[in-house]
């Protein structure tokens, strides 16, 4: 599956456009990677090599940065991203039951993507809305004071 998406051909002109925004800035690697991810939804293998060339560093160094930070994805993502908060406030208010429900309903684990590319599931350290704990986000929408049955209803709303 991943191979298929990869073969959709990386649009190098888009990539070069992102690179040109930061031309001459040695400190812009992270910004470029953020730009790539915003454009493609993930950071494709081809882009890594191209970026390494542009910064005159090894692809390994780019990998180092990519794997250090949680926000970067090295595989294609589902159309909807679910982010279940595992922060302390959510933990003590029972977020685990909600996470279990998402995993059970979609048949994927944290970090996974459903076969139909409908959902990707992530957990995050804190969504910054701890007063709504336990919280999860689907795309840009927040859902607070969750219970397992609310989770099921919410998931049904996405396509």
């Amino acid at each position: 599956m991943a191979g298929k998406v990869e073969s959709q051909e990386l649009d190098l002109t888009k990539l070069d456009k992102i690179l040109s925004r930061y031309e001459g800035q040695d400190d812009a690697l992270i910004s470029v990677l953020q730009g790539v991810q915003a454009e493609f939804g993930w950071v494709p293998q081809g882009a890594i090599e191209h970026i390494a060339d542009a910064f005159q560093i090894s692809p390994g160094e780019v990998y180092g940065v990519l794997t250090f930070y949680e926000q970067f994805y090295l595989t294609p993502r589902g159309r909807n991203t679910i982010r279940v908060c595992r922060g302390t406030a959510c933990h003590v208010r029972g977020t685990n039951a909600n996470l279990r429900t998402v995993e059970r309903t979609l048949g994927i684990k944290e970090g996974g993507t459903t076969n139909d590319f409908k959902f990707s599931l992530e957990t995050v350290a804190c969504l910054g809305t701890c007063f709504l704990a336990p919280v999860m986000m689907v795309n840009r929408n927040y859902y607070g004071k969750l219970t397992p049955d609310k989770v099921e209803t919410i998931l049904k709303q996405y396509d």
Binding site: Q25, Q34, F68, R86, T88, V92, G128, F131, A133
Partner: protein
């Protein structure tokens, strides 16, 4: 926008802004912080705009989208000026009534007010609500009055006055002295005196010097800095410029967590607006002082909030800490002297310059001056952001402001200092919020996370949770932190998994000692705190897990069994359908029974049993009752 070239022109601008505003004109302020947005504030704003138009009031009413005043749990929050009527949990359906009743008829709508759950008393004004009444909101109090995207709103309330005073009426030394005298201590965790740090950077050889705002806010469960940056970004900018002037820096950075897009947006807008007025850039306010600010977005790693890691991240490299034989204040970004302070620390600076160190020192305790913002969350009735003077007791925050523990449950512990802090038990609830006092209890002030836990929280599980978090977040560069955390995680996993052994507690204590001493950065040095405090204050719970294989709070999955209460089961068959391993036998009209041999303790049945039945029970440390005999399994309709 015309440039403002002197303090006099700034005051002129302020007067002009004020003269164009009628203080008696009704203004509807709607909190547009993330919390309220998450509860639907955007829709409320749209409907307000439409409704004002529809009721023909477009020219007579102002609508303002503001920053977060703190009571996020009750969002969307709406305040009506000039009366300052405070409505909570406002929904789009409420809007027409607010316009026709409150704006037109000056009538208060009771149903939208705060109602005290114990006394039933209503509060019409923000200042009457107990949650706010017991706070001292120097930093976040103005959020509900300010549109964070309007520099004029900030200037109207006296914003940038302190900057004018510092740049044009004080020498850098005088500014430095004032901050030093105020004894402003860092709000990002350690409580290091800001004045002393500033001096180090000023006196360090090397140019240029940098000043940096730490808005990485990695503590899971805290959102103080986000609210300041989103809600009142100019206060942070003003503080930063004043500090830069004292230190002799002409370039600053704001390092913001990736997860805070709105904060990034608002700080960028604020920087642009300040530049247009000449409050940033060349020759600020005609003083001859130049200063620019660049915003950097973090990429989601807790350790990047540590000073040396943050500085490497600004350089565009992987944000890992380095040994600090030379402090970052002396050699930071690109090996230049770099002064890093937390968002809240910077936001205090304009207040100190404006009102003076003596005024600042009048608030707080001997060793801790001013106020502190906490994110009060967890098992507490009123959650949100609270700002209190230093010296207030934990009890007062949790009970007077927080309204106590929900559901009549018993308080167990409060965690301050995030993953680097500790859990403070009931017997120390009268300890006051003070850098040194919290450290004495083996916790720390930290950046302001305050997580309340009740009897249903397992402290061993929470300690494991923090270690787990830190294990993932440790950059792995130094052995004591990397290996120590891994080892601790294993031991704690064993304990909560029912495989705990005699001697585990002592082993955890031993590992903690090594990590505290030998780790490279404060992540590893403080990582054992949650474990040590829980061992210290709740040793009996560790022992229950290890010796009796019992989780007193009924949290640790492997130490609990699930059992269906035959008196409560209504044979709805849901659990039987959902159990992933078909461990539940039942059928139409039959009381359901869990086969303990097959059960994997996933908890699904507990989660799915309808709340009106609550038939599935958790049991720990005692045998599961024998299943009901076959003959008694049939439910008689109308009987049960």
């Amino acid at each position: 926008m015309a440039r403002v070239n002197s303090p006099k022109e700034l005051e002129g601008l302020r007067q002009q802004i004020l003269s164009e505003r009628d203080p008696n004109k009704p203004c509807i302020a709607i909190c547009a912080g993330i919390g309220c947005l998450a509860c639907g504030a955007a829709k409320v704003v749209t409907v307000f705009k439409q409704e004002v138009e529809k009721q023909g009031l477009k020219l007579d009413v102002d609508i303002k989208e503001t920053g977060c005043p703190g009571f996020c749990e009750r969002g969307p929050i709406v305040v009506i000026y000039p009366e300052e009527i405070c409505y909570l949990q406002v929904q789009p359906e409420d809007v027409p009534e607010i316009i026709s009743q409150t704006i037109k008829e000056k009538k208060v709508i009771d149903r939208l007010l705060y109602i005290d759950p114990t006394t039933g008393e209503k509060s019409t004004y923000e200042s009457e609500i107990p949650f706010y009444k017991n706070q001292h909101r120097l930093l976040i109090g103005q959020n509900i009055k300010i549109d964070p995207r309007s520099i004029d709103d900030y200037i109207a309330l006296g914003g940038y006055k302190a900057l004018a005073k510092a740049l044009c009426a004080m020498t850098p030394e005088q500014v430095m002295e004032e901050v030093d005298k105020a004894n402003l201590r860092g709000r990002g965790g350690g409580g290091f005196p800001a004045g002393a740090k500033w001096k180090t950077t000023r006196d360090a050889p090397g140019e240029p010097k940098y000043v940096i705002v730490n808005a990485d806010e990695g503590d899971p469960g805290a959102f103080m800095d986000r609210s300041l940056l989103e809600g009142n970004p100019h206060s942070v900018i003003e503080g930063l410029v004043i500090g830069a002037y004292a230190i002799g820096s002409h370039e600053g950075f704001v390092y913001v967590r990736q997860e805070y897009p709105l904060a990034v947006e608002n700080i960028n807008i604020a920087i642009k607006q300040a530049g247009e007025y000449g409050l940033l850039g060349k020759n600020i306010l005609g003083s001859g002082f130049d200063f620019v600010i660049d915003v950097h977005r973090g990429a989601g790693a807790f350790v990047s909030g540590e000073s040396s890691a943050l500085m490497t991240a600004i350089e565009g490299r992987v944000g890992e800490p380095r040994p600090k034989y030379i402090r970052t204040a002396v050699s930071g970004v690109w090996d230049k002297p770099s002064n890093l302070n937390n968002v809240e620390t910077w936001a205090n600076v304009p207040l100190i310059i404006d009102r003076g160190a003596d005024w600042f020192r009048s608030i707080g305790t001997e060793g801790s001056k001013g106020t502190k913002i906490f994110s009060l969350v967890g098992k507490v009735n009123n959650t949100g952001l609270v700002e209190v003077p230093m010296g207030v007791t934990l009890r007062s925050i949790i009970y007077d402001i927080g309204g106590g523990i929900p559901g009549g449950k018993k308080f167990k512990a409060v965690q301050t200092g995030g993953p680097s802090g500790g859990m403070i038990p009931e017997q120390y609830l009268d300890a006051s919020v003070d850098f040194d006092e919290l450290t004495k209890l083996d916790s720390m002030m930290g950046s302001g996370g305050m997580i309340v836990m009740d009897e249903d929280t397992c402290v061993v599980d929470v300690a494991r949770y923090f270690i787990d978090f830190l294990c993932d977040e440790s950059c792995g560069k130094c052995v004591p932190c990397r290996e120590g955390l891994k080892h601790m995680r294993e031991i704690l996993n064993d304990i909560v998994g029912g495989r705990g052994k005699q001697g585990d507690i002592e082993l955890l204590e031993g590992l903690s000692r090594v990590m505290k001493k030998a780790s490279l950065c404060a992540l590893g040095q403080t990582a054992p705190n949650p474990v040590l405090t829980t061992i210290n204050y709740f040793r009996d719970e560790y022992e229950a897990h290890i010796e009796e294989k019992r989780c007193p709070a009924l949290v640790c999955k492997e130490l609990i069994s699930y059992h269906i209460d035959p008196d409560k089961c209504k044979a709805c068959m849901i659990c039987g359908r959902e159990c992933p391993v078909s461990a539940i036998s039942g059928g139409k009209g039959l009381i359901h029974i869990i086969d303990q041999e097959k059960c994997t303790r996933c908890g699904t049945c507990f989660d799915v049993c309808p709340t009106r039945f609550r038939a599935v029970k958790k049991i720990s440390g005692e045998p599961v009752p024998a299943p009901v005999p076959e003959a008694e399994r049939v439910l008689v309709r109308g009987n049960k």
